[in-house]
Symmetry: C2
Subunit: 143 residues, 2 copies
């Protein structure tokens, strides 16, 4: 597992309202499928509905202390890398909350929670290239 965070996803109650907040701070986002991407140097900050994010990670959105509303995504170059990292994480004590599987966007990903319940998604997304230095490349979606 390379030492990199690719996306910082914040689960929010209202995507448009959250986007407006960050744009008031000076950030410029672009939206695709009710998800807002902000370029952030070598990584990207993402706003997505809190319940959708929890569901996508194999969790419930209940505020019972399990899921804190944030997930960290680590993008890799192949589906095999996803499998390898999820296995390594489980061996290290992680709980796999979503077994690796094909995703709706044509990629492949799995999720685990670390020892403190922090949520990680390990993802291969052919639509998001990785630069030679590992930086994620968010395409122009328009909108």
């Amino acid at each position: 597992m390379e030492q990199r965070v690719s996306l910082i996803t914040l689960g929010v109650g209202d995507v448009a309202r959250a986007r407006a907040f960050y744009e008031q701070l000076g950030w410029q986002g672009q939206e695709v499928e009710e998800t807002v991407f902000f370029r952030a140097g070598g990584c990207a900050l993402v706003l997505w509905g809190r319940d959708k994010l929890a569901d996508d990670c194999g969790l419930t959105g209940d505020d019972a202390g399990g899921f804190g509303g944030v997930a960290l995504t680590h993008n890799v170059r192949s589906a095999a890398d996803v499998d390898r990292i999820i296995v390594t994480a489980e061996r290290a004590g992680a709980t796999v909350s979503r077994a690796p599987a094909a995703t709706f966007y044509g990629g492949y990903a799995g999720c685990f929670t670390d020892l403190d319940g922090h949520v990680w998604e390990i993802a291969h997304n052919p639509g998001f290239a990785l630069a030679e230095d590992g930086s994620i490349i968010i395409p122009e979606f328009g909108g």
Copy 2:
């Protein structure tokens, strides 16, 4: 506010145990004052005691749904930048959980929660240079 995340801090129950977990995944960290820093491209992942992190952000560590155990730090080049961004955030609807003030490490920082309770720290830390491109430069601490 430039479009950048400098540190991704994960509040953990046991720093040594959490560090061991990430090192089992292949990450290499360095520790200073019971805080572990992992370089992560243009940003850094940080492990710190959950209660200390909450306290440092002007919050309690209670698992009542307010604080999810993650804080995002945005480093800037001056104390004046900290003040400016905290004011802008508050105007945009953020709740300032810790007014800007000098920090124990010789810097200056303030914290706010966004509309969904996500925690941001805006920090000027003379010990962590920012590259021309905004990437944070974590020095060698040894250990």
